[in-house]
């Protein structure tokens, strides 16, 4: 099974690289896109050194830690990659970026996207999704955050209560879960 046609412009002559996900899906992506993933880049360059690259795009790079659904999201993010992840120059820009982050990150997928971006050593993506997740949890209750990350609270109830009293101000202004 192959997920080709990532390139909307068939006349383009740019080189393609094939990536194979954990669920054995094949993705043929433009070299420029694939090279954003440093893990892939490294693999690709190592192969080149071994003179295997002579076989061209027949090289398939396995990504055993990335599921196809996640890789598809990362590739689509890569293609629409906002010009830069640099900190917004002004307030307006920051708001636009916030909205953008909301669009990309369905909260439930963010952890998977972050893990994959980390594995692929995809710096811009990692920063982007980390910020999206930080945006998402900043107005949430402790209980929500625990549930979201699948964490069990392991403080003694009296410890936690004391802490919450001491830092009451940090527990204000929480959205409905």
């Amino acid at each position: 099974m192959s997920n080709t046609s990532e390139n909307p412009n068939p006349s383009s002559s740019s080189a393609k690289i094939t990536l194979k996900t954990s669920d054995n899906e094949l993705f043929e992506v433009e070299e420029a896109v694939a090279m954003k993933f440093c893990t892939v880049k490294q693999y690709f360059e190592d192969e080149k050194d071994n003179d295997v690259a002579a076989r061209g795009s027949s090289t398939v790079i396995p990504l055993p830690n990335v599921h196809s659904a996640v890789l598809a999201r990362l590739i689509s993010y890569c293609k629409k990659l906002p010009q830069s992840n640099a900190v917004a120059d002004n307030h307006e820009e920051e708001e636009t970026k916030k909205k953008e982050r909301k669009q990309y990150g369905t909260p439930g997928d963010l952890v998977d996207l972050i893990s994959a971006a980390n594995y692929l050593d995809f710096k811009e993506g990692l920063e982007f999704f980390n910020q999206a997740l930080a945006d998402h949890i900043q107005n949430k209750s402790v209980e929500y955050v625990r549930k979201f990350f699948g964490i069990k609270g392991d403080f003694e109830p009296h410890e936690e209560e004391k802490y919450r009293e001491e830092y009451a101000w940090a527990f204000e202004g929480v959205d409905e879960d």
Binding site: H91, V111, N118, F149, G150, A170
Partner: protein, 295 residues
């Protein structure tokens, strides 16, 4: 789910939440608590947050006599004060300043008042009140989000450190009381990176003595120590007008009246021991003679 999110990724996410929320995150579980409590977290958090600096504004509400502090993103075009408008030490005798202030006042008014121009500011609640109605605290300095203030309208000064982002503050112990009447005190507050320490420096010129007594408070030890400075013939100009650059506090000073010229006096925050060395830095020639120079 987070079973497979390694510690460094959790940290990367948590340095991106507002400082106020960080204590809440500590409550999630012991692992998060220990990640956030690690000094490395604070360093990483600061480095990241510095990418988006804020300006701290303080004004006195004439009606209530209340001191109001607000944080404004320095890159917000709606900022009541435009970018690069440095107000720390205004030189009141400069006519250009008055014209600028008038223009500024009109601009602010046009935008609907100081707080009408933008909703993008953060109101802070100063934990301390000055002892006298309608008086400001003196702000010695601020670094890494930590503000050092002095309530200094009486002989027994009160010194405070305040971190508004996390709403924590502390009153510092008082330095040694100097028996002799003081002619003047000068302050500086800075961060010493090599020792990861914050220091408040106070120079007191006692009457009939031309070398200042230097008292230094270090946050790591939580106490003051005194040091002696070599005799010097400069007069520092502004009590709260210090600037910290390259790990040293700088004050503008001048030499005695008959040979008046301006210069900069600096104190290295790494200065150890009870002997204090001040360094002198010349000011540009053109500013050497003036009486209205500011750092």
């Amino acid at each position: 789910m987070s079973d497979y999110l390694p510690a460094e990724l959790i940290v990367e996410i948590l340095i991106r939440v507002p400082a106020k929320i960080v204590p809440r995150c500590k409550c999630v579980c012991k692992r998060w608590n220990s990640l956030i409590s690690n000094p490395h977290f604070a360093t990483t958090y600061l480095a990241h947050s510095k990418q988006r600096p804020y300006h701290l504004f303080r004004r006195l509400d004439q009606e209530t006599g209340e001191e109001l502090f607000t944080l404004h993103p320095s890159d917000n075009p709606d900022n009541p004060f435009p970018r690069n408008y440095h107000l720390k030490n205004l030189n009141r005798s400069d006519p250009a300043l008055h014209i600028n202030l008038l223009r500024l006042a009109q601009e602010v008014k046009d935008k609907g008042g100081f707080f009408g121009c933008s909703s993008d500011y953060i109101k802070l609640h100063c934990p301390y009140k000055t002892r006298y109605y309608q008086y400001f605290h003196q702000i010695v300095g601020s670094v890494n989000g930590l503000i050092c203030m002095v309530d200094s309208y009486s002989i027994d000064d009160n010194y405070y450190l305040w971190n508004p982002s996390i709403n924590r503050s502390m009153q510092l112990p008082r330095p040694k009381y100097h028996d002799q009447s003081r002619s003047n005190s000068f302050f500086g507050f800075g961060y010493h990176a090599p020792t990861d320490d914050y220091k408040l420096v106070r120079l007191v010129y006692l009457n009939n003595c031309n070398s200042p007594v230097v008292d230094i408070y270090t946050l790591n030890t939580g106490g003051w120590c005194s040091a002696k400075a070599q005799p010097s013939a400069q007069y520092i100009i502004d009590s709260f007008g210090s600037v910290v650059v390259n790990g040293a506090i700088h004050w503008l000073a001048h030499t005695p009246e008959d040979a008046h010229h301006n210069l900069i006096v600096s104190f290295d925050l790494g200065n150890e021991g009870n002997e204090v060395v001040f360094h002198e830095v010349p000011v540009p020639k053109i500013l050497e003679a003036g009486y209205t120079v500011n750092l």
